[in-house]
């Protein structure tokens, strides 16, 4: 059925070009999913039915999951005393070689296709309308027409390139990282499926099709977080991610219902057309945007739904890099940019997005300060950086938000993969000695720069990029976001609106301040992470130290590519100030047809051109803040004083609160989860269902019937004489009735 093309975009400049092969983009990873999925159903090794390792051997081989391994070790000591060494046995899947080829290859081909399509788009020059391809009618019902249709425009092109490009690199890295896991084909099946859904998300031509990808990536995230599902914590984390995302999806669904009920359309072209007819800043468009943003807070881990992302680190590290840093979590940013017309009509919603983004940025950054797990640091950093992107798209600087999305994809993927490489080395070291120490805790690392030089250098590049040091990728994108907020605080529809009674300009200034503070914290915690991991004395352990080493080329190769991108990613959209470096505002021009009009609506049609000195001041303060943060961290922190995790003292006071993430998870548990389950069990099930409905009404009526019946059966004494009496009296009564009438 996919074959029956119905190209509605006849006459579009892209018609007849390689862009016609758009549908192949998600289909390629899907093919990979099918192949790898079938392979994964073949058992890893032929295990006898009596093999006690059927449950544990497989799980023991996985690469990391620090605390997980520790817990597991404890358990296996209990369960199988003689199990000991076997625990670290490598069980490579029989068809691992095939998976190693298929998994990355489909992505590489997809990336090639994406580049070809990009070149075709460059070739046709000006393209004002999106290239929409209808394949078949998906949900026709009455006046509702939802087609399975893809839409290609400049925004989705950017996303496709990031997804397939970074995706290919991460797939390659995974080959090295996951090869010895018995679930290797399954891992690649999920990863391929994820990319397929992610591409559907960014290619979908309507909200429902986007929603397919939206929930699909959530599913893959669920499956990959719980990849090592034998550990309850991992399975819990996956479930939590799915359910929290569903809360967000609820918002997105309601937004769609509101759109259809009021605009009668759900495809982007139709909605954008109809949206301009809505009242500017009216309650309807605000409600639509706010519900949509609820969806974004779920997928992109913003307050209050950010809680799933740190837990999501239970998945394999490349997964964290691909899904929970580079692509999926940025879907919310994409959605807002995609719906920029709507958001530009609703200043209050835009301010809400900005505020939530700013709060999330600073909030997550403070937590990141005190995390010991290297991946948790990066997770909170991701939450914080996503907050930045939302500051951007919320305040109407859509290009800035997308720009940061792209650069963030580069450097955060690099950071995660680098940490993966560190964990890989750490685990390999512990593996050799059979130790059960935590391979992800920074207190067990230190001085790794001596053992893994490539990783060390690349990680520093990424750190400087995320901290905002000039000429690294993050510097340009972060600076653009902060600058836009500052400028819009003076003159824009947002500044004129008021948010909960606070003037919009004050809100934006506050967001700017929070953004700066978050930048400072980012520089501090990232430097802290680097110092504790790579510098100072090594705390891994005497024996283990000899086994530390650099990862194989298949893992370092992608790191190098990402390092280059993190260095030069800023060239995508250089500010006017740095015109000496190259062409200015390339991304601005590229995305102009998609978000330009909306951005101008926010700034009341005036292009925000700052005065030269203001711009200099802005940039200067940002640079100063970044350097200050790095210096503070370098001066204040003493990696040499750190002790390994096993000997670490308890934390106290505010440190402890930070280390425990402000106890938000516990609060949610107490306030939301436990009452829901308690009320469901105690009141709804035992109380209403079994207590009232079933025992009072249903079985009560049965008891009533039985009571009446037992009365009747008492009358039925079996004495014929009594029956005769009753009969005669009955006859009397009947005759009497006739007589009286």
């Amino acid at each position: 059925m996919l074959l029956q093309h119905e190209v509605s975009a006849v006459g579009h400049p892209l018609a007849g070009t390689v862009a016609e092969w758009l549908w192949l983009l998600p289909l390629l990873p899907l093919l990979g999913f099918v192949i790898n999925g079938l392979l994964s159903l073949v058992p890893a090794t032929v295990l006898g039915p009596g093999d006690p390792d059927i449950a544990h051997g497989a799980e023991g081989a996985h690469g990391e999951a620090g605390h997980g391994v520790a817990v597991h070790a404890h358990d296996s000591a209990d369960d199988h005393g003689a199990h000991g060494d076997d625990h670290h046995r490598v069980v490579r899947h029989r068809f691992a070689w095939l998976t190693s080829i298929v998994g990355p290859a489909v992505l590489a081909v997809a990336f090639g296709l994406a580049v070809a399509i990009f070149l075709a788009m460059r070739g046709v020059g000006e393209m004002s309308a999106p290239f929409v391809q209808r394949y078949f009618s998906w949900m026709p019902a009455g006046s509702l027409r939802i087609d399975a249709a893809f839409q290609l425009d400049q925004l989705s092109m950017v996303m496709i390139l990031v997804i397939t490009g970074v995706g290919t690199l991460i797939h390659l890295f995974s080959v090295g990282y996951m090869q010895d896991d018995p679930g290797y084909p399954r891992y690649f099946a999920y990863l391929n499926l994820f990319v397929a859904f992610m591409l559907v998300l960014v290619l979908g031509a309507s909200y429902p099709v986007l929603f397919v990808g939206w929930e699909g990536v959530g599913l893959c995230s669920y499956l990959l977080i719980g990849f090592w599902f034998s550990e309850k914590a991992n399975a819990d984390a996956g479930k939590k991610a799915f359910i929290v995302n569903r809360i967000g999806d609820f918002g997105l669904l309601i937004a769609m219902f509101l759109l259809f009920a009021n605009l009668g359309a759900l495809d982007f072209v139709g909605v954008n057309e109809a949206a301009t007819r809505l009242t500017f800043g009216g309650p309807l468009v605000t409600a639509i945007c706010l519900f949509m943003f609820l969806g974004c807070t779920g997928k992109s881990a913003q307050i209050p739904l950010y809680i799933w992302l740190p837990d999501a680190m239970a998945g394999p590290t490349p997964v964290s890099a691909l899904i929970h840093a580079a692509t999926m979590v940025t879907a919310g940013v994409y959605l807002i940019a995609r719906s920029s017309v709507l958001f530009s009509m609703a200043p209050v919603a835009g301010l809400t997005v900005t505020v939530i983004g700013a709060l999330t940025a600073i909030f997550a950054a403070t937590i990141g300060l005190k995390q010991w797990d290297i991946k948790k640091v990066l997770a909170y950093s991701t939450v914080s950086q996503l907050g930045y992107m939302f500051i951007g798209v919320g305040s109407g600087a859509y290009v800035a938000g997308i720009f940061h999305l792209v650069t963030h994809a580069f450097f955060k993927a690099l950071l995660f993969l680098g940490s993966g490489s560190v964990i890989f080395a750490m685990h390999a070291a512990y593996h050799h000695t059979g130790s059960h120490e935590d391979a992800q805790d920074m207190r067990n690392m230190g001085g790794l720069s001596r053992y893994m030089r490539v990783t060390w250098v690349l990680m520093w590049i990424a750190t400087l990029a995320i901290a905002g040091v000039p000429f690294f990728a993050g510097f340009f994108s972060k600076d653009e976001i902060l600058g836009s907020v500052f400028l819009r605080a003076r003159e824009s529809t947002l500044a004129d609106a008021s948010w909960l009674g606070i003037p919009g300009s004050s809100v934006l200034y506050a967001a700017y301040a929070l953004g700066l503070a978050a930048a400072l914290l980012t520089a501090i915690y990232m430097t802290r992470m680097m110092l504790y991991t790579f510098h100072g004395p090594n705390r891994t352990g005497e024996k283990e130290r000899d086994h530390l080493g650099e990862a194989p080329w298949i893992m370092t190769g992608p790191l190098v590519v990402l390092g280059v991108l993190s260095l030069f990613g800023g060239w995508l959209n250089l500010p006017a100030l740095t015109s000496f470096l190259g062409p200015v505002g390339a991304l601005d021009r590229w995305l102009e047809p998609v978000v330009g009009e909306s951005a101008r609506r926010v700034t009341s049609g005036v292009a925000p051109e700052p005065a030269h000195n203001v711009e200099l001041a802005l940039v200067g303060s940002a640079v100063a803040i970044a350097l200050l943060g790095i210096i503070i961290a370098a001066v204040r922190l003493k990696p040499a004083r750190l002790v390994p995790k096993a000997q670490a003292p308890e934390e106290h006071g505010i440190e402890r609160v930070l280390a425990n993430k402000y106890y938000v998870d516990e609060a949610y548990d107490r306030v939301v989860v436990e009452p829901t389950v308690g009320i469901s069990r105690g009141v709804l099930w035992k109380g209403i269902d079994q207590g009232i409905i079933d025992s009072v009404f249903v079985n009560g009526s049965a008891r009533l019937a039985r009571g009446v019946a037992s009365l009747g059966s008492w009358i039925q004494s079996g004495q014929v004489g009594t029956y005769a009496w009753v009969l005669v009296i009955g006859v009397l009564a009947v005759l009497g009735a006739f007589t009286i009438r």
Binding site: V728, L732, L735, G736
Partner: protein, 183 residues
């Protein structure tokens, strides 16, 4: 209103009263045998009434079937079971029950009278003496036999099946239990 000679009227009342009196005696006897005998007396009186009501054939078979056959069977059974002794002392219910039964009877009577009085279907009534003429014309038996074997043939045949079933049934029920067990 049809006129009846005094002779006729007198005998009609006589047999009627005898029937009622015998019936009263029948229900009040303790001994089943004497009760049965009084019932026989009632039935004879009724046979006489039937004849006086222009139904001589019915009167005859009343004597033959009821008084003759059925009541004899009853007596046989009573004697077979050797009832009739005072052993059945709990047979009659207590005073209160009997009083209540009497009241019920009175009520029943009252209702029957009230109902028969209120509704008479005079429009369908045959001319006086029609039945008597029929007896003369067709003969006592022919008067019944005519409709019985024409209009009511099917019920008649079904009755014969019923009788057959009753015969088989009573034989089966009355058979010694041991015979059943032996199989």
């Amino acid at each position: 209103m049809e006129h009846y000679p005094l002779f006729y009227t007198f005998h009609f009342y006589l047999f009627g009263l005898v029937a009622v009196a015998s019936a009263i005696l029948f229900v009040t006897r303790r001994s089943p045998v004497s009760a049965a005998m009084w019932l026989v007396s009632t039935m004879f009186s009724l046979a006489a009434l039937y004849v006086m009501l222009d139904a001589p054939f019915i009167g005859v078979i009343q004597v033959l079937v009821y008084a003759g056959a059925i009541m004899v069977v009853f007596l046989f059974v009573i004697m077979l079971l050797n009832l009739g002794q005072a052993s059945e002392i709990a047979d009659v219910r207590s005073q209160g029950w009997r009083l209540a039964a009497g009241l019920v009877g009175l009520a029943l009577l009252a209702e029957i009278f009230a109902l028969t009085r209120s509704s008479s279907v005079s429009g369908l009534t045959l001319a006086p003496g029609t039945a008597a003429r029929a007896v003369n014309d067709a003969g006592a038996v022919g008067m019944v036999a005519g409709p019985l074997f024409t209009t009511y043939l099917l019920p008649f045949e079904i009755t014969s099946v019923l009788l057959l079933a009753a015969i088989v049934g009573s034989v089966m029920i009355g058979k010694q239990r041991r015979a059943a067990d032996a199989r």
